[in-house]
């Protein structure tokens, strides 16, 4: 019954592997989603509260049953508290990821991180300058040590404002100051959110939501931004690099190692090990043609951006990749790693390795990585992966990979434009490019897999809107073939002309999900060049298939930074129409941007086009009726 698979995904590799998984008796995320139906409406509406032990409580949305929790909180308060905690968790995840990178930077400075080093010294120096760390005539490692310390201070609560907030346009910072939501410390805002949502603290749903914005800003202009910049310093700032995507990137005749998760700290060392001559020789001894490293999710994106490492799939396909039977080893770090994977792998020969001291999984071997043991440990486990090639059984790789171009950091985009953002601004002013949209976020079985990302992106580029994307969205459009220069054939005439001249795809891969901050930096550069605020730009954000708390934080920092953002799935807020109205309308008055929710990507595309044209009109540029 192939219709079942067609209902689940638009990607050919996923459909075929879903069928195989069924045959192999492997349960997938879609099966579990089906088993969970119907899902609890209280929770879907944000109306259940588990914050204290006088509870748990829930509010009857129809008004007859209980209208207040035991503590007295009404629907507005409960919904706002729940949303606040969701954003705190998302901000914490990104920011803690950033902290891990800062710790590697510190270890490098102390010479305690064998294998790691400073790959982009220019960025180190410019960051140091931003942080007020002296650079003149100083040794890179010394600067690195001071920069790491300065960044660590951003995590604490000593400051009145995060350092990198200064990157935002002047007008934006004014907005934040006026509302009192300038982020002060990365950990502080999350910690304060947990405090405010404790029973009996902040019971103003509006003030809770404002703090949620501040908390999200501490991620976007703090934790995530540090994560991206320090990754660039340690592993190099991405440059356009050819790569390929879908499950076909696994090689039938090679040892396949897949890295999955978010943080590049482990995978960079794994990559080095995979390239080492002696291990490749060992693979040949085993009868394999070599060692093939492939990525999944954002760990994959980090390697793709910097080294062109191919991408096997995105969030919903992580189980299916194992069902190919072609993976000798999957190495995971953290975030978005389904706890089912160990179980899935047990049906095949794949060895599963968890590496982070803060992330354990059932059915995985735990091999803890730290900066001081990473290089050696990576070699050890890659060797084990090669040895596992002996146990390989039947392999099913029914697709050929799709070519893609990755590596569009802000520096790379500006580079492609000839060193300044002017040409892009000119194209926008001339109306050839109507505007830009950041299409980001995860997969979610509520939405047909990849359908939201691919459809929205197709409609936007067709209408001359440049798309920049990250995370699982970026993987979806790579698989769909939108990330090659030739993909301008899908673009409208203006976008086609500009991208054709610059020899870039109409859809630019900007990295992992922490790399969404690259979009903020780009937007700030454009706003500064025009002397306006981000909220005045003909640009929008979208998360057509989002699922995670991290995505909720991203959405909030986009909106708080002035970017109109269209969500696919509905966040758990409909229990309070006050909260819904504030987030979808009221925020316009406060931060000049708001959310919209539209699960149908065709309609989401219309919303974004309309918004872009509206902004063009306000800037005095030609505007179309949408």
């Amino acid at each position: 019954m192939d219709k079942r698979y067609e209902e689940r995904s638009i990607a050919q590799d996923s459909r075929l592997l879903l069928k195989k998984a069924d045959r192999d008796g492997v349960e997938t995320v879609w099966d579990r989603f089906e088993h969970q139906q119907p899902q609890c409406g209280y929770c879907e509406m944000g109306l259940s509260c588990r914050i204290c032990v006088m509870g748990p409580c829930r509010i009857d949305p129809f008004g007859e049953g209980p209208q207040r929790g035991v503590c007295g909180a009404d629907a507005d308060i409960i919904v706002a508290r729940n949303l606040g905690r969701m954003i705190a968790a998302g901000a914490a995840a990104h920011s803690d990821h950033g902290r891990d990178l800062v710790e590697v930077l510190a270890a490098v400075a102390e010479g305690k991180a064998d294998g790691y080093g400073i790959r982009d010294a220019d960025k180190l120096m410019s960051m140091a300058t931003e942080y007020g760390v002296a650079t003149d005539g100083r040794d890179a490692l010394a600067v690195a040590g001071d920069l790491a310390a300065a960044m660590q201070a951003d995590y604490g609560t000593r400051k009145s404002e995060l350092t990198l907030v200064r990157r935002a346009p002047e007008k934006r910072r004014e907005v934040w100051k006026k509302l009192g939501i300038t982020p002060r410390g990365i950990d502080r805002e999350t910690s304060e959110m947990m405090h405010r949502t404790h029973m009996g603290v902040d019971n103003g749903w509006q003030s809770l939501l404002l703090h949620a914005l501040r908390n999200a800003l501490s991620d976007g202009w703090g934790g995530s931004m540090i994560a991206t910049e320090v990754s660039d310093i340690l592993y190099g700032t991405p440059k356009p690099t050819p790569t390929s995507a879908n499950m076909g990137v696994l090689e039938e005749d090679q040892v396949n190692i897949v890295v999955h998760g978010h943080n590049p700290v482990v995978s960079e060392m794994v990559m080095l090990a995979c390239q080492s001559e002696d291990l490749i020789a060992l693979a040949r001894e085993k009868g394999a043609a070599g060692i093939n490293l492939a990525g999944l999710c954002c760990t994959g994106n980090e390697l793709l951006m910097r080294h062109g490492i191919p991408m096997a799939g995105n969030h919903l396909t992580t189980e299916l990749v194992l069902a190919t039977g072609a993976v000798e080893m999957m190495i995971v770090d953290y975030q978005c790693i389904m706890p089912s994977l160990g179980q899935t792998a047990s049906c095949y020969h794949t060895r599963m390795i968890s590496t982070s001291d803060k992330a354990r999984f059932p059915g995985m071997e735990h091999r803890e990585f730290h900066p001081d043991n990473a290089r050696e440990l990576a070699r050890t486990i890659v060797r084990e992966a090669v040895e596992n090639y002996d146990l390989r059984g039947e392999v099913y790789l029914p697709v050929t990979p799709v070519a893609a171009l990755g590596g569009f950091s802000v520096e790379a985009i500006v580079g492609a434009l000839g060193g300044t953002p002017e040409p892009l601004l000119d194209a926008i002013k001339a109306g050839k490019i109507r505007g830009a949209a950041g299409v980001v976020g995860c997969n979610n079985p509520r939405i047909k897999h990849d359908y939201g990302h691919v459809t929205l992106t197709r409609r936007l580029i067709e209408n001359d809107i440049l798309v920049v994307d990250t995370g699982c969205a970026a993987v979806a459009t790579a698989k769909a073939g939108f990330k090659v220069a030739d993909a301008i054939k899908y673009a409208g005439p203006g976008l086609k002309e500009i991208c054709g001249a610059l020899k870039i795809p109409p859809v630019l891969h900007m990295g992992s999900c922490v790399d969404n901050v690259r979009i903020l930096v780009l937007a700030s550069a454009l706003a500064d060049a025009l002397g306006t605020d981000i909220s005045d730009l003909p640009m929008a954000g979208a998360a057509p298939e989002w699922y995670s708390e991290k995505a909720a934080a991203i959405g909030c920092y986009f909106v708080a930074s002035g970017v109109y953002t269209v969500l696919g799935p509905m966040p758990p807020i409909t229990g309070s129409m006050n909260v819904v109205k504030l987030l979808t309308e009221g925020l316009n008055d406060a931060v000049g941007a708001a959310f919209a929710v539209e699960p149908d990507p065709e309609k989401a595309a219309v919303l974004i086009r309309r918004h872009v044209e509206e902004k063009r009109k306000r800037l005095g540029l030609d505007a179309k009726e949408v």
């Binding site: 019954m1 219709k3 079942r4 209902e7 069924d22 045959r23 008796g25 089906e34 088993h35 139906q37």
Partner: protein
């Protein structure tokens, strides 16, 4: 008004009760061959199996005839019906007059053609009496043969296995339950039974039984022999109609009846395994020899006989059987001819041992087979019976999550 009912099976009993509810004064005569009180025929296999004792069989208590004011004539067979003079003749030559007559004589096991059928320890399994004699024979039995892979054959084999007897099942067709399920489900059933130690041989039939007084072996069509000290014949049933004058009362396989269970001869009705009515799913005449149809038809015939015109919507094939840990349910049209008006969808989940087959005619469900997870079968049967158009995607009916609310109009 005098009513005569031939057969004290479930159809006859329900008819008698329905008549009495409407007509408190009419004379009701119930002529039955069996002496045992009205009982649950399907449960006799549970007696064989040892799951229940015979005292669990009766469906009505001893006072049933008295309470309803019925005159029973038990242990006698009806030999003839005189349609014109409105009497029935019973074995001792006595005649019983009637104003309204119900033929509820049920069915007899379909006989087979083979030599040596008069040997001892060869049984049919239709009545409580049959099972009683089987039980008497059992202590000396080690190896049994069951002929036929239908429902009754199955229940016999299952009962014997539960008694610890090595059992071989011989099936003429390619898979068990060929009247109830399709080949795929039949194969699942066969695998399951083989796994449990039943020896199933397909495409096999018996030409002769041999033995000295008692059966000792069976000779198969291919010339091979199988030793056994007991044989049960379960090759289906035929309506028990030897006494029905075919020139006066229309008979096809069963007695032909209209929507009120009445035959072509006015005032003469038929119900249960003896009657042939319209099958809702097949949209043609059919004998659906199953318990719930006998209940319904008996009740409806009784009401019509007592003067309340009640139409019977037609019958519907359906069956459920539980064999060890496997449940198999089917209903309506299960094996339509290829390139007919029917569309078929399948769903097979080997890991959870689930199989679903749905048969559609245009936008209506016409039949299904379920292996395991049979709880929603009643919803499907009611879809077939009510001939409700299926407007939701068909795959939803085959999905494991299917439930009654899947059929409700969309929210919002």
């Amino acid at each position: 008004m005098s009513y005569v009912i031939i057969g004290n099976g479930v159809a006859g009993v329900h008819a008698a009760e329905a008549i009495r509810r409407i007509d408190p004064d009419g004379e009701i005569t119930l002529i039955g061959d069996e002496l045992f009180p009205p009982y649950c025929r399907p449960m006799i296999s549970l007696v064989l199996e040892g799951a229940v004792t015979p005292d669990a069989l009766p469906i009505r208590n001893d006072r049933f005839y008295d309470d309803l004011g019925i005159a029973p004539i038990l242990g006698s067979r009806v030999e003839d019906i005189d349609v014109d003079n409105r009497t029935v003749k019973i074995a001792n030559g006595e005649t019983v007059p009637f104003d309204k007559l119900l033929i509820a004589s049920g069915a007899d096991p379909r006989p087979i053609k083979a030599e040596g059928l008069d040997l001892k320890n060869i049984f049919y399994m239709r009545t409580e009496g049959h099972v009683r004699s089987m039980l008497t024979a059992l202590p000396k039995v080690q190896k049994a043969l069951v002929l036929g892979g239908g429902l009754v054959g199955f229940k016999a084999a299952y009962g014997l296995m539960r008694r610890g007897i090595a059992t071989t099942m011989l099936i003429r067709s390619g898979h068990p339950l060929s009247m109830q399920v399709d080949a795929a489900a039949g194969e699942l059933v066969r695998e399951n039974l083989m796994g449990r130690g039943l020896d199933v041989r397909v495409g096999a039939s018996v030409t002769a039984f041999e033995g000295r007084g008692r059966v000792e072996r069976a000779v198969l069509a291919d010339g091979t022999t199988l030793s056994c000290d007991m044989a049960v014949i379960g090759k289906g049933v035929l309506p028990a109609l030897s006494f029905v004058p075919r020139d006066k009362i229309g008979v096809d396989l069963g007695v032909l009846v209209d929507a009120h269970q009445e035959t072509g001869a006015k005032g003469i009705y038929a119900a249960g395994d003896a009657a042939e009515s319209t099958d809702i799913a097949r949209r043609s005449r059919w004998v659906n020899a199953i318990w719930p149809e006998a209940v319904d038809q008996g009740r409806i015939a009784g009401m019509n006989m007592a003067g309340r015109a009640v139409a019977y919507p037609g019958s519907l094939s359906r069956n459920v059987i539980r064999i060890f840990d496997m449940d198999v349910m089917s209903g309506g049209v299960v094996t339509p001819e290829t390139d007919s008006v029917y569309d078929v969808i399948h769903f097979h989940d080997p890991k959870r041992k689930r199989y679903r087959k749905l048969v559609f005619r245009e936008d209506r469900l016409a039949g299904f087979v379920l292996v395991n997870a049979v709880e929603q079968g009643g919803v499907m049967l009611s879809l077939i019976r009510s001939e409700t158009p299926v407007v939701v995607p068909r795959e939803r009916l085959a999905a494991p999550s299917f439930n009654w609310s899947t059929l409700l109009p969309r929210a919002g």
